[in-house]
Each structure stands twice: as structure tokens, then as C-alpha cells.
């Protein structure tokens, strides 16, 4: 990375956060709220953020809107490899960045195909199913190929996102089987976010 070599006397500029933390945070939360309320629907998120690559503006907006010092954050190897990403997130959210996926309240995943098994993350407990991880997964785009059923969906709805791991349907079925335990997914793609809460049933379309 340019500007990060030890003999460089100039500190690299940190990318800026939300223009308006209050309103941008609210708008991004609302998109995430509707995304989880209506699985499969893509809710627009159009942040004016330029986070360090490979962190996408949409995923960055979700983290800035939802995370703070109370939410340990786990970065996947692709993001953990770039120190600027951790510096950007640490500065703007204050969230502790943890190496152990099980400790994380939020996980940020830039390489979905490589993502660890859902069981590596906190699943909640029978008494407190809310004490589970939320996975923010960066995808290139949305499409079709899957069918979703469950709370928030009238009947069934078509959904798709790419790239996703080859065994995604099996992973989601295993996650659904744990209900009310399990992880919740926010898929951040170009211009929007889609939600796959643990209550959703994912099938081949």
C-alpha cells in the first residue's frame, strides 16, 4: 500500500465518514430495517463514502450506522489484510476489532465465497437468541436463482446475489434449523442492501 511504508513521513489521509452522521445513519439503518423486515427486497443505500478498498461504500455505511464501542467487529481475511480498513472503521465507529469470530457482534465479509461457516459466529443462546452475530456480506450484485419464504414475505419471493458460496442453500437451511438461534445476514451490493434474517427459508429457484 502506498503511503503506509514506515519511512514515509506523511501520514495517509483517513477517508471521511458520513457527511451528516445523524441523517445518513438514520437512512442507512432504515434501509437495513426494511431489508430484514422484507427478506429478498433490495433497499436502496447510496452513501457518499469512499472507504479503503476492498471495503465497499454500502458495507461501510452499514457498519458506520450500526456499530460503536459496544459491538466487537470481525473482519474477514481479505479486509484484515489491509490495515487502512481497520483504521477507517476504528476511527469512525470506535468498534473493537476482534480476531476471534465467536466474540463478534458484527462480522464484515468482503469475500463471500471464502466466508467461514456460520457456526463459527455467535448463534445466541436459547434464553437470549438476540446475542448472535449479524454478518454484513459484500456482494457484487443481486439477481435471481433462489426462492425465499418466511416472515416478512407474502407467499414467496425470488432472490439472488452473487458471488455466494456454492453451498449457500445448505448453509442457510442449517441456520434456519437452529431457529430461534442463528445468524442474520445483511447483503450489501451496489446501491442497496438485502436482508436474510435467520427466520427465512432459502430454496433453489
Amino acid at each position: 500500500m502506498s503511503g503506509t511504508s514506515p519511512d514515509d513521513t506523511l501520514t495517509p489521509c483517513l477517508a471521511t465518514g458520513f457527511d451528516d452522521p445523524v441523517m445518513d445513519g438514520q437512512a442507512t439503518f432504515r434501509a437495513a430495517m426494511w431489508a430484514l423486515s422484507r427478506p429478498g427486497r433490495i433497499e436502496p443505500v447510496t452513501p457518499s463514502l469512499t472507504p479503503p478498498a476492498p471495503l465497499s461504500p454500502e458495507a461501510a455505511a452499514l457498519v458506520l450506522a450500526l456499530c460503536d464501542y459496544e459491538t466487537p467487529l470481525w473482519l474477514d481475511p481479505a479486509l484484515a489484510l489491509v490495515p487502512d480498513v481497520a483504521a477507517f472503521l476504528r476511527f469512525h465507529t470506535g468498534a473493537p476489532i476482534v480476531g476471534d469470530a465467536r466474540e463478534a457482534r458484527f462480522a464484515l465479509i468482503a469475500e463471500p465465497v471464502e466466508m467461514p461457516d456460520f457456526s463459527d459466529f455467535a448463534q445466541g443462546t436459547p434464553d437470549f437468541p438476540d446475542a448472535s452475530a449479524t454478518l454484513i456480506v459484500q456482494v457484487q450484485g443481486f439477481g435471481g436463482g433462489l426462492v425465499l419464504e418466511g416472515p416478512g414475505i407474502k407467499g414467496r419471493t425470488a432472490f439472488g446475489a452473487a458471488p455466494l458460496p456454492a453451498d449457500f442453500i445448505a448453509r442457510m437451511a442449517a441456520n434456519r434449523a437452529l431457529f430461534p438461534l442463528g445468524v442474520d445476514l445483511l447483503l450489501a451490493g451496489a446501491g442497496g442492501v438485502a436482508g436474510l434474517p435467520r427466520s427465512v427459508t432459502v430454496k433453489e429457484g
Binding site: 437512512a27 450500526l66 416478512g152 407474502k154 431457529f179
Partner: protein, 296 residues
């Protein structure tokens, strides 16, 4: 951030919608988990609000965390837009968030309610925020939080069925008329807040998002749109809602929830719609009940 107002007194300004951003994020995270596990009560760190407990501090905190500058807010108290609690909360958000407010169920994007669901069917993209006094449906049957938590974890709701059965044994029918327990998405039994059981069917397959906030008890729970909400009952004693023999004395509406108003000390009374917006809308459309004046 105190601007000097024209009169010389400093004008106090608040963060948008009163709450600080960290509190909003904490509430927002609880809301997301509540949506992911429909009917489960998510604990949250409810703050002191500038109003007493029992006046909707839970609902107000949920509204404050969700509210945006483009929202149109409606607040009702037992169906009415013009009662103290509704006027106070509407004024609170007009002052702290400068959002547009309305009394029209149709025009509102966010409706905060105390103990009623509007008669006008809710639509997509609307959010209904309930004020909840006691979120735990099993609390009066089992006072220990550790026990009720375990009962929910095990989906052990026999106690609630015993309670409903005892109603039948004593009264010949299920005598619970408000805060009637429901099962959400086939899993959690939930208190729908003290709405009349008349409103229970409106919770099922509702196109709007329903959020529940209990401030004193520090719980948030949710029903996503189009979610199955079933009122608990028995095969031989199916769930039934109240029926009214009369129609509204002002707008002649039937099939709506009516309030009884005592008129004098000689037994005079009238029944009127509890939902003032619905009643006004019908009167404007020319419907006249038996006690409506001829009007202008």
C-alpha cells in the same frame, strides 16, 4: 449548541428526535434482532425520557430511533388523536425532530399507538409502534423473569393455555378481552399490548411493520410484515372478537370498535368510534349516526 433566541433567552436545541446517536444505535440494533426473531422480547438499555413511565417511554424511544426527517407521524391514544398522551407525544416530536405530523392514518408513514390498531387498514411501508406496559405475556402467571425466559426458550406455553382454560371453566368462555396472547410465526407467544382483542386479527398478515416498545420493562419486540399471528384458543372454544349491537352514534359505522360514553346520570349513553380519524372521515363523507347533529 445553544442559539441565542430573539427574546434573549437561549433556545435549547436537541439532537434530532431527542436521543443521542449512541442510544439510537443501541435501540436500532435491538430492533433488527427483534425483526429477525419475530415475537421474541429483546432486552435493551431503555433511557430515562422526559415523561413518566407508563406514558409511552418505550414507544417514544422506538419512534425516536426509527424516525427520519421525511416521515409523517401520527400518534393515537386508545384510537384518538386528540387525547393528552397523543397530543404530548406528537408535540414532543414536532419540537425535537421537526417532522410533519398528521391525524390521517392514510397519510402517516409512522404511527405510534397506545392500545389500538387503526380501523383503516394499514399499508406497505407503514410502521406501527406500540406502547407496551408489560411485555411479558406470562408475567401474571409466573413472576420470575428467569422462569419466563426459560419457558420461552423451551416454547413451553402450557401455562397460558391453563389460564385460558380456567377462564372457560369459570365463565363458560375465554373472558380475556384485551392484551389477548398471540403466537407469532408459529414460535413465540407474545403480548400484543393492551389492545382490545377486537384488534388481534389485524396483526395477522399485516402489510405494515409492527414494533413494540416497553420502556420501564426495557424490551423491544417486533412483527415483520405478512407474518402469521394467531390468537391462542381451543378447538371447541375458537377465538372470537367482540361484537357491538349498536353502530357509531356519530358516523353510523358498524364492525368497528366502539367506546361507550356516559351522557348523564339517568342512564343516557352513546357509542362512538374509538378511532377518531376513521369516524371524522366517515362523517366528512356524509355518513350520519343517530346522534350526529345536522352539522354545517
Amino acid at each position: 449548541m445553544n442559539a441565542q433566541a430573539a427574546g434573549g433567552m437561549p433556545e435549547i436545541t436537541y439532537n434530532f428526535a431527542y436521543l443521542d446517536e449512541q442510544t439510537k444505535r443501541m435501540i436500532r440494533r435491538a430492533i433488527l434482532k427483534a425483526i429477525a426473531v419475530p415475537g421474541y422480547q429483546v432486552p435493551f438499555a431503555a433511557r430515562e425520557m422526559p415523561m413518566p413511565y407508563g406514558w409511552g417511554t418505550g414507544g417514544v424511544q422506538v419512534t425516536a430511533a426509527v424516525l427520519g426527517p421525511d416521515d409523517v407521524l401520527k400518534v393515537i391514544d386508545q384510537g384518538a388523536d386528540d387525547t393528552t398522551n397523543a397530543v404530548a407525544i406528537r408535540g414532543f416530536f414536532e419540537k425535537t425532530a421537526r417532522v410533519a405530523t398528521t391525524t390521517s392514518t392514510q397519510a402517516a408513514t409512522l404511527i405510534q399507538t397506545r392500545h389500538r390498531v387503526p380501523e383503516t387498514p394499514l399499508r406497505e411501508n407503514q410502521i406501527l409502534v406500540y406502547q407496551v406496559p408489560i411485555p411479558e405475556p406470562l408475567r401474571f402467571l409466573e413472576p420470575r423473569e428467569t422462569e419466563t425466559r426459560q419457558l420461552h426458550a423451551l416454547a413451553e406455553y402450557g401455562l397460558m393455555h391453563v389460564k385460558l382454560y380456567e377462564d372457560i371453566a369459570r365463565h363458560g368462555h375465554i373472558a380475556t378481552t384485551y392484551a389477548y396472547p398471540v403466537e407469532v410465526a408459529g414460535r413465540y407467544v407474545m403480548d400484543p399490548s393492551p389492545i382490545p382483542k377486537f384488534d388481534n386479527p389485524k396483526l395477522d398478515d399485516c402489510p405494515a411493520l409492527q414494533l413494540f416498545g416497553a420502556g420501564r420493562e426495557k424490551r423491544i419486540y417486533a412483527i415483520p410484515p405478512h407474518t402469521r399471528v394467531r390468537s391462542l384458543d381451543f378447538e371447541d372454544h375458537p377465538f372470537r372478537v367482540q361484537r357491538f349491537a349498536q353502530s357509531c352514534a356519530l358516523c353510523a359505522a358498524s364492525g368497528v370498535y366502539l367506546d361507550e360514553v356516559i351522557l348523564d346520570d339517568k342512564g343516557g349513553r352513546m357509542f362512538v368510534c374509538s378511532d377518531t380519524d376513521y369516524c371524522n372521515g366517515r362523517q366528512e363523507a356524509g355518513h350520519r349516526g343517530e346522534m350526529a347533529g345536522e352539522g354545517a
